[in-house]
């Protein structure tokens, strides 16, 4: 049963319409923000560099994504902060 469902799901995602939708999602983000994927990547890296200067973050668990809310683009950053070992001042 589970196999059958997986097969059904894979069949649907293999269709060309879902490829079109996935590709368009990314293209529209780039068009709307006027940022190339490379620029977006370097912006994320710089952002992390700046934040790391002030607090220790878990860079492996960082997630920075462009999301869509209506026609508004939103940059969502989820940056877990490492528990600080309290230093004596």
């Amino acid at each position: 049963m589970a196999d059958w469902l997986a097969w059904l799901a894979s069949k649907k995602t293999n269709k060309s319409a879902s490829a079109a939708k996935d590709r368009l999602k990314l293209v529209l983000i780039n068009d709307r923000t006027d940022l190339t994927p490379a620029e977006l990547e370097s912006m994320k890296n710089e952002l992390l560099q700046v934040i790391s200067r002030y607090i220790e973050i878990d860079s492996n668990a960082v997630r920075i994504d462009m999301t869509q809310e209506g026609r508004q683009q939103r940059l969502l950053a989820d940056i877990p902060i490492r528990a600080a070992s309290r230093k004596a001042r």
Partner: protein
């Protein structure tokens, strides 16, 4: 009387702007409304042939703007529908012959006498587009369920917003329901999710559209066709009526049914 100025645009060419403008004009006029449509595509006029009025052109939009004729002289009256008029584009001039403020002035003169002024915008995002959008009260964006058309629609919707002519409403044209069903065409829900705009109509792909443009008889004159009904419905929604979106399910013939039985989940 004070007309609503509706601009039909798309970004990408060939998605059905002119067909849409012609059919909405016909559908509104058939519903007893007084309608004038303006071909905004200077240098590449086509609304005249789609409406079947190409043989009756004497003056055009540029003649009016440059004062070579009165507005009334450039308005061609349709013979099928007494309340339908066309102002054709000039064929031998370029888009810079008209400015956005010319278009605002022209439509202001027309507003008094009509219920609807429909403007067929050219493709692209340059002067012709800005001319067409400048006087608009409402903008309709035509697109097809296809990557390049959707991408360009998104761009044009953004521009319409920045010109403060939004929110644009979407017409999804040429939907091939067979392809949608087998997962090989974006659904209307997909397109709406991507573009995040309000939908005003879905028009199925229908051979009758080309057949009727061959004859210069817009398909909306024949509401027995699926595309004709779709355009009629958009015209009613423009008038503020709440019309449910039509079911695009095409009737399967006996062979298609059989082949589905033989190869379940196939094709």
């Amino acid at each position: 009387m004070s007309a609503t100025v509706v601009t039909v645009t798309s970004g990408k060419g060939g998605v059905g702007k002119t067909t849409t403008t012609a059919n909405l004009a016909v559908a509104l006029a058939a519903g007893g409304q007084k309608v004038v449509c303006i071909d905004g595509d200077i240098g590449l006029r086509n609304l005249d042939v789609i409406l079947g009025l190409e043989n009756r052109i004497v003056y055009d939009l540029v003649d009016v703007v440059e004062g070579r004729c009165r507005l009334k002289q450039a308005m061609i009256r349709d013979k099928r529908l007494q309340e339908l008029y066309l102002i054709p584009a000039a064929q031998t001039r370029d888009k810079n012959a008209v400015s956005p403020s010319d278009m605002v002035r022209l439509t202001d003169d027309l507003r008094e006498e009509f219920d609807w002024v429909l403007i067929d915008s050219p493709a692209g995002i340059e002067r012709g587009f800005r001319n067409s959008v400048a006087p608009a009260d409402t903008v309709l964006v035509v697109t097809n369920p296809e990557v390049s058309a959707v991408r360009d629609a998104d761009r044009i919707i953004g521009l319409i917003e920045s010109e403060e002519k939004g929110p644009a409403r979407l017409i999804l044209n040429r939907v091939n329901y067979e392809m949608v069903k087998r997962g090989d065409m974006l659904t209307s829900d997909d397109v709406l999710e991507l573009l995040a705009v309000e939908l005003i109509g879905i028009v199925p792909e229908d051979d009758h559209v080309i057949m009727s443009s061959n004859r210069g008889q817009p398909v909306a004159l024949d509401p027995k066709t699926r595309a004709g009904t779709a355009f009629q419905n958009i015209a009613r929604r423009l008038r503020g009526e709440d019309v449910p979106f039509m079911n695009l399910e095409v009737k399967e013939d006996i062979f298609q049914k059989l082949s589905r039985l033989i190869r379940p989940g196939g094709n």
